[in-house]
């Protein structure tokens, strides 16, 4: 099997950011994204996911390194100052590189 190297960028943040964030991600060049409901704890307290305002999402994007950088830079500038969020990047291999 031949895997092509891509970046896997993951963002965990408040659920309220789902609409603007996924809009931005696509605008910055990603071909897709996956969203999962999450709860968690960090510097800004615990999110129990008991009601609408107390919920995290976990957004995952597979993309090229440049797109990942663009998203990370944008998130750092626009969202990180005001929202509790976590962003990390890892390496993965995909089969059909043209899709991402």
């Amino acid at each position: 099997m031949d895997y092509h190297p891509k970046k896997l960028l993951t963002i965990v943040c408040e659920a309220v950011l789902e609409a603007p964030l996924t809009r931005d991600i696509q605008r910055l060049g990603a071909q897709g994204y996956t969203v999962i409901d999450a709860r968690g704890g960090g510097h800004y307290g615990v999110k129990r996911a008991a009601w609408s305002f107390d919920r995290n999402i976990r957004v995952e994007v597979i993309c090229d390194a440049e797109v990942a950088d663009a998203i990370a830079t944008h998130v750092a500038a626009c969202y990180a100052p005001d929202y509790g969020l976590v962003l990390y990047v890892g390496d993965v291999g995909v089969m059909r590189p043209g899709l991402f």
């Binding site: 309220v16 307290g45 609408s52 107390d54």
Partner: protein, 311 residues
């Protein structure tokens, strides 16, 4: 009069939450119940409006919107004594807006005593939710360099879940009328109060989870959250008297004025005024004002209404 049992459910949730019980209602239940409450309130108002609407209501709606705007600005002015612009604007938007559940408990309070109220009160509930949010964002941005996506904000505020369901319910109730709605009443009317009790159980749990943040938010916020409802309820009564409302209607307008949003406002402010601290506004609105209104405010506002209206 003994405590309304729905309030006992709130206390049960609050107690369980404070005792750190593992009781947790599924998030989907919470959301389903809130959908139900919004539709049921809307339908009931729509049916009543279909019977009783008069052209004067248009004027009244204008006055009520003006009240919401005025309350927001007043709250902002008070909060600016101590808080930064963004925080003051965000909290002001919460208090200029309204709480659907507090309104529902108010109608349940009246129902227990067999007291009627004007059907347009439901309409007032629907129209008072939004203006405060827009004013709040304007207050946060006045003189500021940051651009606001007004189009998107207006869209979000006007087509938010609660406005759509309340207004939709009103419309359906209005169109279908009492006889058309009859077949729906076993759910939306007969079960309204017990469903409200379940919802308040959850609200108690949520309130308990917010109380911890109160300590960090300071005395000023605490005083604001407990005193402003008193002040606002009086302003609500004042407007009610200008509009010639009955005692029941005046009481509900006071409840609306005194109540603070904890669903629409937090969501809208988080996006439109992100630099405001959401823990602050939720601690005040959900941790203090909501339980205060439920437990002490509602009987109090009714007592004051009776005093002035001679009911």
């Amino acid at each position: 009069m003994p405590l309304d049992p729905v309030v006992l459910f709130f206390l049960l949730g609050l107690g369980a939450g404070l005792a750190r019980s593992d009781l947790k209602l599924p998030a989907a239940l919470y959301e389903s119940l809130s959908v139900f409450l919004l539709i049921a309130i809307g339908l009931k108002g729509g049916v009543a409006l279909a019977k009783l609407a008069s052209p004067v209501i248009v004027l009244q709606v204008g006055a009520v919107v003006a009240l919401g705007v005025a309350l927001t600005i007043l709250a902002f002015a008070l909060l600016r004594f101590k808080l930064a612009r963004a925080d003051a604007a965000s909290i002001a938007a919460h208090y200029g807006s309204v709480s659907v559940v507090t309104f529902a408990v108010g109608t349940s309070f009246l129902a227990r005593q067999g007291i009627a109220y004007e059907p347009q009160l439901t309409l007032f509930l629907a129209v008072m939710e939004m203006p405060a949010l827009i004013v709040g964002v304007m207050l946060a941005r006045v003189g500021g360099g940051q651009r606001v996506a007004w189009g998107r904000l207006a869209h979000e505020v006007l087509l938010g879940k609660s406005v759509v369901l309340l207004a939709g319910g009103l419309l359906i109730g209005w169109i279908a009328g009492e006889s058309g709605i009859k077949s729906l009443s076993p759910l939306y009317f007969d079960l309204f109060k017990p469903v409200l009790s379940l919802f308040l159980l959850e609200m108690g749990l949520i309130t308990a989870s917010r109380l911890g943040e109160l300590r960090r938010s300071g005395l000023f916020i605490g005083a604001f959250a407990l005193l402003v409802p008193l002040l606002f309820s009086l302003l609500g009564l004042g407007v009610a008297s200008l509009l010639g409302l009955s005692a029941g209607g005046a009481f509900l307008l006071a409840v609306l004025a005194a109540s603070s949003s904890y669903i629409a406002a937090p969501a809208a402010m988080r996006i439109a005024v992100p630099e405001a601290n959401p823990a602050l506004s939720l601690a005040a609105s959900l941790g203090l004002t909501f339980p205060f209104n439920l437990l002490a405010g509602i009987p109090l506002y009714w007592a004051v209404t009776c005093y002035f209206w001679g009911a």
